[in-house]
């Protein structure tokens, strides 16, 4: 940045000047929810394939996860809709397919997510929510239909994994292809958002497990807040098989996420001046405090430590890592969307 440069623009278009601010809270929330759903799909898909179809057991990963995914996805799409400024024309998305536009890809992928998630959820729905199955016996029939066909189960699982990967990467590519904003100008954003999504999904499932376990000293206030959910899932002891797996998986995802984030920043720092300047926005600029504290310390490092302790049985499984990871995931999307819009190619004043 040359201090002896003055750049004066007469343009003062709303949302564009003084720095771009076209996207507010809706987009980061949407990206977060998209990533979360992608993570839920992948985990659900893998779990569905991993457990033998005949082995009927209630599964947070395979049922509650996809069900939550359906809700989150709808929420995300609603939030995305809120962001559109020409809302009445939204149907235009589905009259065309633009091969170069990640957003067009995304809108079609989103359509695939619903059936995949629904199929996955159906497979084990009766065990997961017996009350529901009691009222709608047809669910049991559908579940039987799926579980009796191994190939179908595998197909559903693979579909979930593939669509999940597509969705997760798409949330990052969406920003990554916008080369006009140097901070986003990285292919690593796709994998980064994918793994961030996976980590938030694993953390969410882990958190649900903790919440729904009737383990010693269930936190009273949490019980109060989420009693409806716990009643649905029927409180039972902490699933000692799944919880450590989820925590362990979450730790791997977080570690990979941390690595990708480092690579992402190193990539910028070793690139052109504008990219360096963009990375500086996070490292020491106006977003540094939020980045280091909320994304790195509280969103990744602290839950990593806590989950490691949990895995070592040094401490009990708690809701804390889940909340921290989810919060960190949201913070990551916010900070990248906001700082990205602030980064620009004119690396002069203004």
């Amino acid at each position: 940045m040359n201090p002896l440069t003055e750049l004066t623009l007469s343009r003062h278009n709303p949302l564009v000047d003084p720095t771009l601010h076209v996207w507010q809270w809706q987009i980061p929330i949407y990206l977060f929810l998209g990533g979360l759903v992608a993570g839920l799909m992948i985990i659900a898909g893998v779990r569905l394939i991993a457990i033998r179809p005949t082995q009927r057991e209630a599964l947070v990963c395979c049922t509650i996860g996809p069900l939550a995914g359906l809700v989150f996805l709808s929420l995300g799409m609603f939030v995305l809709f809120l962001d559109l400024s020409h809302k009445l024309y939204v149907w235009r998305l589905y009259t065309t397919f633009q091969i170069t536009s990640p957003m067009s890809w995304g809108s079609w992928i989103l359509l695939l997510v619903y059936p995949a998630l629904a199929a996955n959820a159906l497979a084990h729905l009766p065990e997961a929510i017996p009350a529901l199955a009691k009222r709608f016996p047809v669910l049991i029939a559908w579940s039987d239909f799926i579980l009796s066909r191994t190939r179908l189960v595998v197909a559903i699982g693979i579909a979930n994994v593939l669509v999940g990967i597509g969705l997760g990467i798409y949330t990052g590519i969406l920003l990554g292809t916008l080369g006009a904003r140097p901070l986003w100008n990285s292919a690593l954003l796709g994998p980064l958002f994918l793994f961030s999504g996976l980590s938030t999904a694993a953390a969410l499932l882990h958190g649900i497990l903790v919440l729904t376990s009737s383990g010693e000293e269930l936190p009273a206030f949490a019980d109060f807040l989420l009693s409806s959910l716990t009643r649905l899932a029927q409180a039972r002891p902490l699933d000692q098989k799944v919880a450590p797996v989820l925590a362990g998986a979450d730790n791997s995802f977080l570690t990979i996420e941390l690595g990708l984030l480092s690579l992402f920043l190193i990539g910028h720092l070793t690139s052109t001046a504008v990219h360096q300047q963009a990375a500086t926005l996070l490292l020491s600029g106006p977003y540094a405090a939020v980045f280091w504290i909320f994304v790195i310390s509280l969103g990744i490092v602290l839950p990593l430590i806590l989950q490691t302790l949990e895995l070592q049985n040094s401490i009990r499984h708690t809701l804390a890592p889940a909340l921290l990871v989810i919060f960190g995931g949201i913070a990551l999307r916010f900070i990248l969307v906001y700082a990205g819009q602030q980064s620009h190619w004119f690396h002069a004043l203004n």
Binding site: A288, A289, W292
Partner: protein
């Protein structure tokens, strides 16, 4: 080492937040380790069952106090830049009493309540809610008691200043007092709490070995004792000066500005420098170089100008200018120059330049006109330099008390939030 780092601009606001977070982690960690997440443990202090509060607090205070003293006495830290909460005696006494009552009733203070809430203490969370409610209420009544809250103002004042005693002596006194209090506490705990002193963890009880705790106490006492005789930390500035670097600059004359060049800068209205006149005020008022500001040596505080500004020093006395040059360089000013030849040089080369032998009028014209502009007169080569002694009729009218920089609105201090908790 230039501490406090933040005040010397080593890092910006954003980084300071990250540091705040890290320091906070340390703060919270040790509070919790000390058991301050538990209201019962805290409250036990007031029933003389468990005096950890006193012990922890005073150990922390004397540790930081002696550390601070050592750093500043060694010149590594500028104690005057460490923020001191101003004293409003009566409000602080009243506030202290209220706080004490609140402490017994609620069982926490604000800092410890955070730790207790973070470790799941529901009473700690409720306490925080109470505090928020209290603050809300206070915010509404504050306008009515604002006069009281601002009463008995004593400014930023320390005990050494109040009692006019050496700083070090008070450090020592505080250490001694703390150690005495520790001994008393241990006795009280035994007496009222029925605790058997832990041989490793107490100062007076147990064995006669030099346990690590005793070593700590002893070192603090020794530092305190030294401090009592080692002088004032505020005036203990030591700065390392890169002599080779300075030597090189002086050798190349890179620290000097020729009078003719300064004259050109003034004429061209260049404003990328500050011209500092070091002479006494009366000399300055009598006449000075246009644009000069009067800052006698003693008033060259680190904040009299921005550190990256170009500063040109002028004085009658070259030694004075050299002193000021060293002082400013040591204070971290980046580009300080001395007017070559001082005021005399200005007179010789700008106000009363002598036409070199054999030079034509035309070649000398520029210098002559510059001299006239500044109120001097060019000298023919054969005239004696005696006239030089007459002070120049100042072209710039003597300014009335121009010590202060131009009154600009920006000098008003930005509205500052009260620090402290």
């Amino acid at each position: 080492m230039n501490a406090p780092f933040y005040k010397f601009g080593l890092f910006g606001d954003e980084a300071s937040f990250i540091i705040a977070f890290l320091i906070g982690i340390g703060f919270g960690f040790f509070l919790e380790r000390a058991g301050f997440g538990s209201a019962r443990k805290l409250a036990a202090q007031f029933y003389l069952r468990d005096l950890s509060v006193l012990k922890v607090m005073f150990t922390a205070i004397i540790t930081a106090m002696t550390g601070l003293y050592v750093f500043s006495r060694l010149g590594m830290l500028d104690l005057s830049l460490v923020y001191l909460v101003p004293t409003f005696l009566v409000p602080q006494i009243v506030g202290g009493l209220l706080l004490g009552v609140g402490f017994v009733i609620g069982g926490y203070c604000p800092g410890t309540s955070c730790v207790s809430a973070a470790t799941g203490r529901i009473d700690g969370m409720v306490y925080i809610l109470g505090m928020v409610a209290g603050l809300l209420g206070f915010g509404e009544v504050y306008p009515r008691i604002v006069n009281f809250a601002h009463s008995t103002s004593m400014g930023q004042i320390t005990l050494p200043q109040l009692f006019d005693l050496p700083y070090g002596l008070l450090v020592f006194a505080a250490v001694l007092m703390a150690l005495g209090a520790f001994a008393a506490s241990e006795w009280a705990e035994k007496r009222f709490g029925g605790k058997q002193p832990d041989p490793e963890g107490s100062i007076i009880g147990g064995s006669r070995r030099l346990t690590p705790v005793r070593a700590l106490a002893l070192s603090l006492a020794v530092i305190g004792l030294c401090a009592a005789f080692a002088g004032d930390p505020y005036r203990g500035h030591h700065t390392t000066i890169a002599t080779r670097d300075l030597e090189m600059r002086v050798g190349q004359g890179a620290d000097l500005i020729e009078p003719a060049q300064l004259a050109d800068w003034i004429i061209q209205d260049r404003n990328d420098f500050r011209l500092v006149d070091l002479r006494p005020q009366k000399d300055y008022i009598a006449w000075h170089i246009p644009r000069a500001e009067n800052f006698p040596l003693a008033s060259l505080t680190p904040d009299f100008a921005a550190h990256n500004e170009k500063i040109i020093l002028c004085s009658d006395d070259s030694l004075e200018a050299a002193k000021a040059w060293f002082l400013l360089e040591a204070q971290g000013f980046k580009s300080v120059y001395v007017l070559s030849g001082g005021m005399q040089g200005w007179k010789d080369f700008v106000l009363f330049p002598v036409r070199p032998q054999g030079a034509t009028d035309a070649a000398f014209e520029r210098q002559a006109q510059v001299a006239k502009f500044f109120g001097g007169s060019p000298q023919a080569s054969n005239t004696e330099a005696s006239s030089v002694a007459t002070p120049a009729p100042p072209r710039v009218a003597p300014a009335p008390l121009p010590t202060a920089p131009p009154a600009s609105t920006s000098t008003a201090p930005p509205r500052k939030k009260k620090e402290g908790c």
